[in-house]
Amino acid sequence: MEGMAIRLQGLRKSFGGTTAVDGVDLEIRDGEFFSMLGPSGSGKTTVLRLVAGFETPDRGRIELAGQEVTDLAPFERDVHTVFQDYALFPHMTVEQNVAYGLRIRRIPKAERLVRARKALAEVRLEGYGQRRPAQLSGGQRQRVALARALVGRPRVLLLDEPLGALDLKLREQMQVELKAIQREVGITFVFVTHDQEEALTMSDRIAVFDQGRVAQVGTPAEIYERPATPFVASFVGTSNLLEGEAAHRITGSAGTYNIRPEKIRVLKEAAEADEPGHATATGTVAEVVYLGDATRFLVDLDGGGRLTALQQNLETSSADVAAYRGTRVRLQWHRRHAVRLPS
């Protein structure tokens, strides 16, 4: 079908006793920034390795741009990878590393150099071309790996936690840079991360992985606002589950509900509870955590259960915050923010 960069059907892969990928179906569109989010060991890297061709699936089918590639070797697929452990060639300079793919494709030396330098500039490594990988810091190596995969402008770029070794500031810069490159060249990015914030801010769509399966696929807003399972709710953002008896009393029907902490307002216990469309519950503040820009309240509800609420520090400061511990409060949220999860 047109418009699909990658299509995975019923993909399975096990190593000895462990099933790393357990029946994955995914469709990734052309030019999409697609993230795979999941805890350590959930099979993200294995899916990437299957797409790149380093592993062959036990079962299932892989299509790239409408062509079946399940049994093709890595060098026959128009896909480049940024490896989780960089995999830079230690016997080559940074520039030679970046130009390696171009050399394989017999691109003339002069053009190779120009393009390699440009790619190094894109990842903010001008002037490092003559160094060896061993003479770089972890973050710099990671950016060389990025440049090496980007320089050939493949149809699909697979990135395995490509920003994991960078400090926060550089990481944010590179996030912006990556997005810009991706939009500019229109490459399909498959971006593996276990940083949910990164996935939420950068992606067009996200697949959340859980134990070798895809728990949910959707836009960042869908994943965050409408988690499909308790696992997704707890892995993306802070989960705030309202279950059993407490759920029944507060919402009027049994089931498991998830409410994002920032949707809950913390009010004085005596405050009016009758805003239309809102649900409310009283409780005691068990813990207060000062976060700088916000404060997190852990509230033990009178009806059982515990909810976390996040409040912007509009007027409060750290000194006031501590005084809340042990006080009685009323929590309030709009009913539409209590998302019912399938049990």
């Binding site: 790149a52 380093f54 890595p74 060098f75 990878t81 490896f83 060639f89 016997h91």
Partner: protein, 297 residues
């Protein structure tokens, strides 16, 4: 109680000493290395110096007594006598041929033991490669003498093809030396190949390289220093050998034989001949130092 005091004090001294040593790595290194370095300097470099100096002496042609008179006659003879020149060239040629053969044979063997064979079997295979080193040198060389003898195993195996074995001579010497020193080449290459990260091969394929290309551009350059390291052994061991050539070499003469035959009659000449392999090996080491091989020794 009274015995405690000296012990505590003693322990204190030891700790202080340990602390001092910890803070001064150079002092620690000096203490550690003084004895072995002295040994090396006096015995090894000393004997080399004696060798070199005595090469400038001469002998009384009647009594064969060493006369300690300075002259460069020996070196002059070395460079002008055709026989000497031939022998030196032949010896270097043999050493190079043995090294090249060892590298050619060792690479596929090491590739098999390090990357193809099942991980469980690898240590066993390495032991297998090492076992010949435990057998006596002479036994192995005489075994080759038997193999290469007329009507021996080599002849017998080649007979169906209408060929015969090489017999005793230069090729037999190269063959036997290759067999003898092969493990010294296989081991470093095996280690290098085993330590080659699989991710690099993936990365190369990912960027479009076919296996042959990956081999040339990634595997070979990364393993080359180890080949050079192995060649230091095969080259210098071959250059210094004079027993194998006596047993399977027929009439072939190498530097070692000349040194050996001159020791009784003309010690200074033997010394002058003896400096040749030392000089060649130093040159060889300087040449391959550029490959980084000496770092991986």
């Amino acid at each position: 109680m009274t015995t405690d005091l000296p012990t505590a004090a003693g322990r204190g001294t030891v700790r202080r000493l340990a602390g001092t040593l910890h803070r001064r790595p150079r002092l620690r290194l000096a203490l550690l290395l003084t004895a072995p370095l002295l040994w090396l300097a006096v015995l090894y470099l000393g004997s080399l110096a004696v060798l070199f100096v005595s090469a400038f002496w001469t002998t009384d042609s009647f009594t064969s007594q060493v006369v300690k008179v300075w002259s460069t006659d020996n070196f002059h003879a070395l460079f002008t006598t055709p026989v000497f020149r031939q022998v030196v060239l032949r010896s270097v040629g043999v050493a190079l041929a043995v090294t090249a053969l060892c590298a050619l044979i060792a690479f596929p063997v090491a590739f098999y033991t390090a990357r193809v064979a099942r991980p469980r079997w690898r240590p066993l295979l390495v032991v297998g490669i090492l076992t010949p080193l435990w057998a006596s040198y002479l036994v192995k060389v005489y075994a080759w003498r038997l193999i290469l003898s007329e009507g021996g195993l080599a002849d017998w195996m080649l007979a169906p093809f209408g060929l015969s074995g090489p017999g005793y001579g230069l090729p037999a010497t190269v063959l036997t030396l290759t067999y003898l020193w092969l493990p010294y080449m296989i081991l470093p290459i095996h280690t290098a190949l085993e330590q080659l990260p699989a991710g690099l091969l993936d990365a190369s394929a990912d960027l479009g390289a076919r296996p042959g290309r990956t081999f040339r551009s990634v595997v070979l350059p990364m393993v080359l220093p180890s080949v050079a390291a192995g060649s230091v052994f095969t080259f210098s061991l071959s250059l210094g050998d004079y027993i194998t050539v006596q047993i399977v070499g027929g009439k072939t003469q190498l530097i070692g034989n000349l040194v050996y035959s001159n020791i009784e009659l003309n010690l200074p000449m033997a010394a002058a001949l003896g400096t040749v392999p030392v000089a060649v090996i130093v040159l060889y080491l300087l040449a391959i130092r550029r490959t980084g091989a000496l770092n991986s020794l």
